[in-house]
């Protein structure tokens, strides 16, 4: 019996700075202790010095891949305190941006999964296919990532006419590509051997640890904020929530693929049903909520993101707490890696879709 403690990280060929302290017995993992904090930027303290409009690009940056999903609960919190009603066309455009962001983020997940498993085609293909959706986002908002597109009271500008046709082309192309992804990656015998049956999170543990997102849905619990507590126009759209009972890394990856299919269906429906009208309220720059507090949540691509806003009537928030899905899934890392070999640690760890910048804020 030889015990060894190895520090994996903070610089590692994966994504983000995050260290794992791994206690080994030979090659078998005994315990994994996460060590976050290498990208802690003090978001909550910095937000107290910025006014409510300056906080918009600030709160996109933790998970810049799905910027619009991160901003949803923030604008809802401000609108809740100020009792604003957003025009319906603005809400439809918000949903379109949110689902585009979801596809972009899930494709990046598969790209990095390819690197971790050693499948370099799976890195190149998602990165290339992402560009189609980033082009769409660029047509709508003008930026590739980090759009700052959602405002309290609506969205920044209207969508151009050509978006509808371009979006339908991109979705039709990508639906055929997803079948190829399943063939080369999900049903690839090497990936199946590395991911099926590995990193199992049971249903009881998932509930007890309070995890969110695809990690929760892969363990058999059907919970999604878009269905539990519908916001924007999600109650008018028709989509399903994929759930799996296995709880292993393969199931978590499979849920990402199914969610991309549902997102494309939502985008097509939203572009068909969108009414005409204004896209934002004219607040004349006066965004100053009265004193009060509120707790709002939304479903981002990694799970449920929540904002707890306490305002004392000033120009800047008194306290603004952001609870991100990666921070809530941090608790699951030690559970799913017990008993694995050291070489199986990267795929099991990445299947949780842990984004260090979001967890550290």
């Amino acid at each position: 019996m030889s015990e060894l403690t190895v520090t994996v990280g903070p610089q590692h060929p994966g994504s983000g700075h995050f260290a794992l302290i791994v206690k080994l017995d030979g090659d078998k993992i005994v315990e994994v202790i996460p060590d976050p904090g290498y990208v802690h930027r003090g978001d909550e303290k910095v937000s107290e010095n910025k006014n409510y409009i300056q906080n918009i690009p600030h709160f996109e940056r933790p998970a810049i891949l799905d910027a619009s999903n991160m901003l949803f609960p923030y604008v809802h919190a401000v609108e809740d305190l100020m009792k604003l009603e957003v025009p319906v066309r603005g809400q439809y455009i918000r949903v379109i941006m949110a689902e585009l962001n979801r596809i972009i983020s899930h494709l990046y997940y598969f790209a990095i999964y390819g690197i971790f498993v050693g499948h370099s085609t799976m890195f190149m293909w998602p990165v290339a296919d992402r560009e189609h959706f980033i082009d769409l986002a660029q047509m709508i908002s003008g930026q590739r990532v980090g759009f700052a597109f959602l405002l309290p009271g609506g969205v920044r500008n209207d969508i151009p006419e050509a978006v509808k046709e371009r979006a339908n082309e991109a979705c039709n192309y990508f639906e055929k590509r997803l079948i190829e992804y399943e063939r080369i990656f999900m049903n690839n015998p090497i990936f199946e051997k590395r991911a099926k049956g590995m990193g199992i999170l049971s249903k009881e543990d998932a509930i007890k640890l309070g995890v969110v997102g695809p990690t929760l849905r892969a363990s058999g619990i059907k919970s999604d904020i878009r269905k539990d507590e519908p916001y924007a126009v999600y109650d008018k759209l028709d989509f399903e929530i994929p759930v799996s009972k296995d709880g292993d890394s393969w199931a978590r990856a499979w849920i990402h693929i199914e969610e991309m299919r549902q997102s494309m269906s939502i985008i097509k429906q939203a572009l068909k049903d969108i009414p005409s009208g204004p896209v934002k309220l004219n607040l004349r720059g006066q965004v100053r909520p009265p004193p009060g507090e509120t707790f709002t949540r939304a479903e981002s691509s990694r799970g449920a993101v929540s904002f707890y806003l306490i305002s004392n009537g000033g120009m800047t928030p008194y306290r603004l707490r952001m609870i991100t899905p990666s921070f809530r899934n941090l608790r699951a890392i030690s559970h799913i890696t017990k008993g694995l070999l050291l070489a199986d640690l990267p795929p099991a760890f990445w299947s949780l879709d842990y984004w260090p910048v979001e967890a550290d804020r």
């Binding site: 009792k83 929760l216 507590e229």
Partner: protein, 166 residues
């Protein structure tokens, strides 16, 4: 959270029923209850936090905690700690968030840890410890989580923390 909360003069029925249940069972420990659509906030006395938490878990079937937040009120000389809880098992309560709040003194902020009741609070309590200086008694590993190892200033989220770069 719906984007158009109408100003209700009558509190919503389901939330009122749950709030009445809590008031009946935990009579003297409660200071105040606020009811909004899909959100209930229960303010308890700091000594009875464990009793309230056990009641939430066993009788109301709250099975996880979404977050632990700490807010510094230097004017009242108090720190308020809020546990936002939820349930996954009961489908008809899945959109309800019940907040359990209490206030402790700012000079000696001490409170019992709830990790035995809800294991999902482990990392959140560590973060509140390093950001606000609150000591959670009974926590399995109360150490720094995010701040650098050689941090020697007061906890940063306190209102009297002087930011050296501003």
């Amino acid at each position: 959270m719906s984007e158009t909360p109408k100003i209700k003069h009558e509190p919503p029925k389901r939330e009122k029923k749950i709030a009445d249940n809590i008031t009946v069972k935990l009579r003297k420990d409660i200071l105040e209850i606020e009811i909004k659509p899909k959100r209930i906030k229960v303010k308890v006395k700091p000594e009875s936090i464990k009793k309230a938490a056990n009641f939430f878990k066993n009788k109301l079937n709250i099975d996880h905690v979404a977050s632990v937040s700490g807010i510094d009120y230097p004017n009242d000389n108090e720190i308020e700690i809020v546990y936002h809880t939820g349930t996954y098992k009961h489908k008809d309560l899945s959109d309800l968030v019940i907040a359990l709040a209490f206030r402790i003194s700012r000079e000696t902020p001490k409170t019992p840890s709830l990790t035995e009741i809800w294991p999902s609070t482990e990392f959140d309590e560590r973060e509140t410890y390093e950001m606000l200086g609150v000591i959670f008694e009974g926590h399995p590993k109360l150490e720094k989580l995010f701040l650098p190892e050689d941090w020697d200033d007061i906890p940063p989220l306190r209102k009297d923390f002087k930011n050296p770069r501003r």
